[in-house]
């Protein structure tokens, strides 16, 4: 697989996800419209809403993601190594310098976001910047730049915003139904006790959840991480730097508090740490290949 087929593959998948999202959301609103006998107004709302979300996710995904993890811009004075290493790796990759952001969190991690190499962002936690030396930092940033170069960031950021939106919508629907905001126009108040909409909602949740999981897996085939590891190693000709960085990151046991299930797949290592059994959903979102395997391959290069 060449870099060009990776890029076009990622763009195609982004379009597929846009269409799927519009179809899913407006279809969902259509069903609600049917149920409430309110004609096509729900469908129109759904259509407008889903179009607005896809357009928004394309242009503003980076800002939304950065906002949701609480990142602030990094200056050269304050983060000399981060800034200069990013400059150097961009030189080596022949890419424009990405914007740099920092999250104030002791859990070491990093991710890249944006829609193309000209609108790209690399974000690192203060924990990462404090435990890595320049060589290791080069490895991490080279890995992120590879994601930028082959447009993994576009797909991953769009998915993370849209999945976040689905979570928001279903949460909102749940509350509306709980408080009786959506009901049949001919319903009497005393019918609310056994509202069949709850049943429909539960069925929909069971349908939507695997679809969302599939979306995420579309976006993050684990192959991507291995590819970015290998491409990154070509940028600084030093695969051991990234291997050491991954070792250090995986040894740290802090969980990144600002990460959510909709942004987890963006990070270089799973921010919830491997082996956490708390949430069954996380099993579906198995976004990262085993770290030991990545380190073994990098050491073998």
């Amino acid at each position: 697989m060449t870099i060009y087929s990776q890029i076009s593959g990622n763009k195609t998948r982004t379009w597929v996800i846009f269409l799927l999202f519009i179809f899913l959301v407006s279809g969902f609103f259509y069903v609600v419209g049917l149920y409430t006998y309110s004609g096509s107004e729900y469908f129109v709302i759904g259509l407008i809403f889903s179009f607005a979300s896809t357009i928004g996710s394309y242009f503003f995904s980076d800002r939304i993601v950065l906002l949701s993890v609480g990142a602030h811009p990094a200056s050269k004075e304050e983060y000399f190594d981060f800034y200069t290493v990013a400059e150097n790796m961009s030189l080596s990759a022949g890419l424009p310098m990405p914007k740099l952001y920092v999250i104030d969190d002791s859990s070491p991690n990093a991710f890249a976001t944006g829609r193309d190499p000209k609108h790209a962002v690399i974000c690192a936690t203060t924990g990462l910047l404090s435990i890595l030396n320049r060589g290791e930092l080069e490895g991490v940033i080279a890995h992120e730049l590879s994601h930028i170069k082959n447009y993994d960031i576009l797909l991953a950021s769009v998915v993370s915003v849209l999945v976040g939106t689905v979570a928001l919508v279903s949460d909102w629907m749940m509350r509306s139904m709980w408080w009786g905001g959506i009901r049949r126009r001919d319903d009497n108040d005393r019918d609310n006790g056994n509202n069949p909409l709850f049943l429909i909602f539960i069925v929909i949740v069971f349908i939507i959840t695997p679809i969302v999981a599939t979306l995420i897996q579309l976006a993050i085939s684990r192959k991507r991480e291995f590819l970015a590891d290998a491409d990154g190693a070509l940028l600084n000709r030093n695969p051991k730097g990234l291997a050491r960085a991954l070792e250090k990151i995986s040894q740290d046991k802090h969980v990144l508090s600002t990460a959510t299930t909709s942004t987890a797949h963006l990070f270089i290592l799973n921010p919830f740490k491997e082996g956490k059994k708390g949430n069954w959903l996380l099993g579906l979102f198995n976004t990262h290949p085993p770290t030991e395997e990545r380190i073994r391959i990098l050491r073998g290069m």
């Binding site: 000399f80 200069t84 400059e87 150097n88 790796m89 030189l91 080596s92 990759a93 022949g94 190693a233 600084n236 000709r237 030093n238 695969p239 073998g300 290069m301």
Partner: protein, 184 residues
């Protein structure tokens, strides 16, 4: 199908191939020139940092005149270098001279402790990295271009149109050892 149509179709295919190969070569060559000016920017940054460094070190270690002379000489030969090979050689010379300058600095604890010196040292090290990485980018572009110029069948068209393989920017022996990576 009659013969003239087949011949016409072949001619069109050939012209399309010719044009796309020509354009591909031009794009690759433009990238090489861009990468080359990228190296020049970093070399310039490097030479700009040196007078400041020499002044700072002089303030603490006046007697090491030979070292300063070497650095200054290497710097001016890098500034006057015009061909690629001259630049590569002058750059390597400067690296050696700077190494002895920093070795001298080791003997002066006051100098080593000064924040101005530490800052300059950090910036110089970073600039050296930048030179190395822009050179690596340049070389990988040259590799792409040369492959196209030398591989069949694009070599025929490249030869007809007068494209020649470009020169790599050579690294020092020491750096070459550092970047040796095995890919399976």
């Amino acid at each position: 199908m009659s013969t003239p149509i087949i011949l016409l179709a072949l001619a069109i295919v050939f012209v399309i191939y010719l044009v796309s190969t020509y354009n591909g070569l031009i794009i690759l060559r433009t990238r090489i020139q861009e990468a080359l000016s990228g190296i020049d920017v970093q070399l310039k940054r490097r030479t700009d940092l040196i007078p400041n460094l020499v002044e700072t070190v002089k303030g603490y270690a006046k007697h090491e005149r030979g070292v300063f002379e070497n650095v200054t000489k290497a710097r001016s030969s890098l500034m006057s270098a015009s061909s690629l090979q001259e630049k590569a050689e002058a750059n390597n010379q400067l690296s050696t001279a700077l190494k002895s300058l920093f070795a001298v600095a080791e003997a002066y604890p006051d100098l080593k402790a000064s924040s101005n010196f530490q800052n300059l040292q950090r910036q110089l090290e970073d600039t050296e990295d930048k030179v190395a990485y822009s050179r690596q980018f340049y070389n990988s572009n040259v590799l792409d271009f040369n492959t196209k110029v030398q591989v069949f069948p694009s070599n025929i068209i490249a030869g007809m149109l007068g494209f020649k393989a470009e020169q790599f920017f050579a690294a020092t022996e020491e750096e070459r050892k550092k970047v040796e990576v095995k890919f399976e």
